[in-house]
Symmetry: C2
Subunit: 258 residues, 2 copies
């Protein structure tokens, strides 16, 4: 990387933008020179550290524009940047790179769940998936990616979409399962705390084992008696239907292996 | 607790029995005097530390018999112990205490997932759920539970069953979601490693937030456009059906809140 710091302008005021801004500000080889947002109050926290703007006519020349915007906003917003020759990247898992309406296009997708409630997220362990239309831009993006994270990988838009969907299963749907557990415990005057160590251990397990190896439970051992007992206990309702649906899928899977 | 150590005999050679034996052997106030198993080879690892037996006629008097057996084996095996006046407990989440055929009955249910691949499991953070027919036995069980874990709770058989089912959702079904993610990544030449930080973060989140608060994803924000894109990407098949089924459940939930 050159001695000159990388000049970056960030667009957005949501979770990803906020966490990205915090991390970019810690990097000595990066100069986060401006943050743009339609409403200045969402980015007011950064006014000590960088210039905050709500007017595109104030944009300064930069090496990279990062659009950390909602999926729906990316394409229309990118149209406003058509006049610039700056490499413009979005941070979304599900928008194709080629949808960007700028001259130079790329993607910098940090693959993690971001919530407002967690004030500090260290990017160094978060996989960053990058994509660009040409090698020069890809190198620029890779340089930035490596400053942020130890895990930078080049993936195309198709792979990025697969990863995004994998994330829906591994995070959103997983959380929905946690929720079923929480409701069930509450219905029986039991604390959700009881299930927390199990949740951590289940996540830990697949850090070293494959999920196929780690699968346990009544359905995975073909224990119809326990499945029946559980369904009787749950009675008729959405939890019982969900239990049955997932158990049948798991049973089918072990059937296929035999 | 009296100065006299608690004399315990353990029955079983599976995961729960093995991890329980290892932990019991570390307790100064407990004497694990015998381990019984039908096949001695499964418990051979303990022969330096305790007496291992495969013959019930060799049983010595004890304060407690712990049946760490498979669900199906508990009731028939307990019949063989009808002659004893020893408090006999099982370690199962789904067998009712009253199903035991012994004179004195109880349950000591460590609520965690145990796998052979993990050699050492520290019980101190694992919730232990206990139940007994009378107060004397409950105190005996509580004393043992507290030696093993910082988290001992008295729950009845109905609550224990609810907890067990909650565990199926929070561990077994969760792991099945991990599996969907793993398959999807493999289909697109991507490593499962990419999703591991997200899995940990998702589990971490509900250690402090409720799952309802922690819910994110296309369905939870009513983002039909992304759901449609993902379903198109998954094409027809079990993953697409599962994605749609769970998304509809989550959509219904946010609909109910409005």
């Amino acid at each position: 990387m050159a001695n000159q710091p990388l000049h970056i302008t960030l667009f957005g005021g949501g979770n990803v933008a906020t966490h990205l801004a915090k991390n970019l500000l810690t990097l000595p080889d990066v100069r986060l020179q401006q943050i743009y947002n339609r409403h200045l109050d969402a980015i007011k926290a950064f006014e000590q550290n960088t210039e905050i703007i709500d007017d595109l006519s104030k944009l300064k020349p930069a090496d990279m524009f990062i659009l950390a915007l909602k999926d729906d906003a990316i394409v229309p917003f990118s149209k406003k940047l058509q006049a610039f020759d700056t490499l413009t990247v979005h941070t979304s898992g599900s928008v194709a790179m080629t949808d960007l309406q700028t001259r130079r296009k790329g993607v910098l997708y940090p693959f993690q769940t971001f919530s407002k409630d967690k004030p500090d997220i260290d990017f160094s362990n978060i996989p960053i998936l990058i994509e660009a239309e040409n090698d020069t831009d890809l190198i620029l993006l890779e340089n930035l990616g490596k400053l942020l994270s130890d895990n930078v990988q080049i993936v195309d838009s198709e792979q990025r979409k697969a990863l995004h969907i994998a994330g829906v299963f591994a995070a959103n749907f997983v959380n929905y399962m946690y929720r079923q557990a929480a409701e069930l415990l509450q219905d029986h005057q039991l604390s959700f705390d009881l299930v927390k160590p199990l949740i951590m251990e289940t996540a830990q397990k697949v850090q070293t084992l494959s999920p196929a190896e780690a699968q346990t439970g009544p359905a995975s051992r073909g224990d119809f008696k326990t499945i029946r007992k559980h369904l009787d206990f749950l009675k008729i309702g959405s939890k019982s239907e969900l239990y049955q649906y997932l158990s049948e899928l798991i049973l089918k899977e072990i059937g296929n292996k035999k």
